[in-house]
């Protein structure tokens, strides 16, 4: 922790570097969080950005599966001092870099002080080297997820237009607003079935936030629609072949949705 910028004065003084860090989270599993992280990273890379995706789902990471990588060196080896951080950063198919957790990370599914220090150290070291660092967090609102999200300057909540996903996305937004003081969060709606459904879902979430969360806060939470990715057979095809849809089937509706979302992220 010695090289970490000391946050002494205002406890909320998130370092300027943290604005580059985007936590991709969802509340509910199975909504395409890792799919979104990987393909967004590829789209950002294609726009000329240096991007790192960090597998922050320490317990149940599967970024390696999505990217069809079989890494010899993982975050686990960095944490245990077996290899250097630089050796663990691998090139991924989409032209970006990845830092994979590895299955040995299951033992870190509880955040001990030691793991947090290690994690913070890794973040502090990699962030200056990239334009964007995407944290692919775990599902749910566990202490691990809340901790990893707290390291990021920006948050992207991935949801699908289904009641369970909406509920969990709303719960995540509410907890992040009340416990981390988040006032601006991005929403990406995956698996939309008609154009404009992303806007509708964002509005729906905003309505409930306005009614139940914002009256209790000093300043209101604002949700920002980062993009919508339509249901697209190309996604299933790409996932089964363990390819990025952006690489395998560019120009399909899902790929275009991802590219538009990346554009919005760069704009922000």
């Amino acid at each position: 922790m010695s090289e970490a910028p000391a946050a002494v004065a205002g406890a909320d003084s998130r370092p300027a570097q943290s604005r580059k860090i985007l936590a991709v989270t969802s509340g509910k599993g199975g909504v395409g969080k890792t799919f979104v992280s990987a393909n967004l990273a590829a789209a950002l890379a294609r726009a000329g950005r240096k991007v790192l995706v960090l597998d922050a789902d320490l317990g149940l990471a599967n970024l390696d599966v999505v990217l069809n990588l079989f890494p010899k060196i993982t975050l686990h080896d960095v944490f245990t001092g077996k290899s250097s951080l630089n050796d663990a950063i691998l090139p991924a198919p989409g032209g970006f870099s990845v830092l994979l957790a590895g299955s040995g990370m299951v033992e870190y599914s509880r955040m001990t002080a030691e793991v947090r220090d290690q994690f913070q150290k890794v973040i502090d070291e990699v962030t200056p080297k990239f334009d964007h660092v995407l944290l692919d967090t775990g599902a749910g609102i566990s202490d691990v997820v809340l901790y990893t999200v707290s390291l990021a300057g920006e948050v992207l909540v991935v949801a699908t237009p289904e009641p369970t996903s909406l509920t969990d996305a709303y719960a995540t937004i509410k907890v992040l607003a009340t416990t981390q003081g988040r006032r601006k969060m991005g929403v990406l709606v995956n698996q939309t079935r008609k154009p404009g459904e992303g806007r509708q879902v964002r509005q729906q979430l905003q309505n409930v936030v306005d009614r139940y969360v914002n009256p209790q806060l000093d300043s209101p939470v604002r949700l920002d629609l980062i993009g919508e990715v339509p249901v697209d057979p190309a996604v299933r095809d790409a996932v089964l072949r363990r390819q990025l849809v952006l690489e395998w089937l560019p120009g399909t509706p899902a790929s275009l949705g991802i590219v538009a979302a990346a554009g919005k992220l760069i704009q922000n």
């Binding site: 946050a7 205002g10 406890a11 909320d12 955040m111 001990t112 002080a113 947090r116 609102i141 202490d143 809340l146 901790y147 707290s150 237009p161 009641p163 909406l166 509920t167 709303y170 719960a171 509410k174 907890v175 009340t178 416990t179 981390q180 003081g181 939309t192 079935r193 008609k194 459904e197 729906q204 979430l205 309505n207 409930v208 009614r211 139940y212 209790q216 000093d218």
Partner: protein, 221 residues
């Protein structure tokens, strides 16, 4: 020195001018500047420092910590009907009751006229309600002598919130969350404890209803 004398503190030991004397003087002044004059409790400044320290600790150790905000119920009425001396007696009596109902490691502060705060490090969420209730009951069962043969009963409303574990929050946010609960306790009739619900079920049925209210499954069109 006059300042210390006025506060009823002894002069520091050692020869005036010696470094031990000066250190003693500095220590005494620092101590004085962190205390509330009427009650001897930590003052607002000391409270804010303690909150910052506690947030640091929680972020590092992950130990749960509870913040209670307390307010004497109908304090204005006491002042108006019995005078300011009675008001001061009430504040002093409440301060003593608060100190008596928590652990030595807890910080009790007077943060406003009739407002108090207690920072409880390493307080498990399962015990939060019990601790706060104990404090509330202690005050409610304590008669305050405000003059010869004159006793009144007072009560406090208490709101509380736990620091989010592992997460570096801000003192302002933590106080805001506990204050929120204090308002709830006041609104619901006073002489009550309200703690922020822990996040087991964060979404109420009303919230769910509104979430799905105008939500139309898209495959219906």
């Amino acid at each position: 020195m006059q300042l210390l004398g006025a506060a009823g503190r002894a002069a520091p030991a050692g020869d005036p001018g010696s470094s031990a004397y000066l250190q003693g003087l500095v220590d005494a002044l620092v101590e004085l500047s962190s205390r509330d004059a009427l009650t001897g409790l930590a003052n607002r400044r000391a409270f804010e420092l303690a909150l910052e320290r506690e947030i640091d600790r929680v972020a590092r150790s992950g130990e749960p910590a509870l913040l209670l905000m307390l307010d004497i119920d109908h304090f204005k009425r006491v002042n108006d009907s019995f005078g300011h001396n009675a008001g001061d007696s009430v504040i002093k009596a409440v301060a003593t009751a608060l100190l008596d109902s928590v652990r030595p490691m807890d910080l009790v502060a007077r943060v406003g006229g009739e407002e108090f705060a207690i920072v409880l490090p390493n307080c498990a969420s399962a015990f939060g309600e019990t601790v706060a209730e104990r404090v509330r009951r202690r005050v409610a069962h304590m008669p305050v002598v405000i003059g010869p043969g004159q006793e009144i009963a007072v009560s406090v409303s208490i709101g509380g919130a736990f620091a989010p574990q592992w997460v570096r929050s801000t003192p302002a946010l933590w106080v805001e969350r506990a204050d929120q609960q204090l308002y709830r306790a006041k609104r619901q009739g006073r002489n009550l404890v309200q703690l922020e619900p822990t996040q087991v079920s964060v979404v109420s049925n009303e919230e769910k209803q509104l979430l799905f209210d105008s939500f139309q499954p898209s495959d219906h069109d």
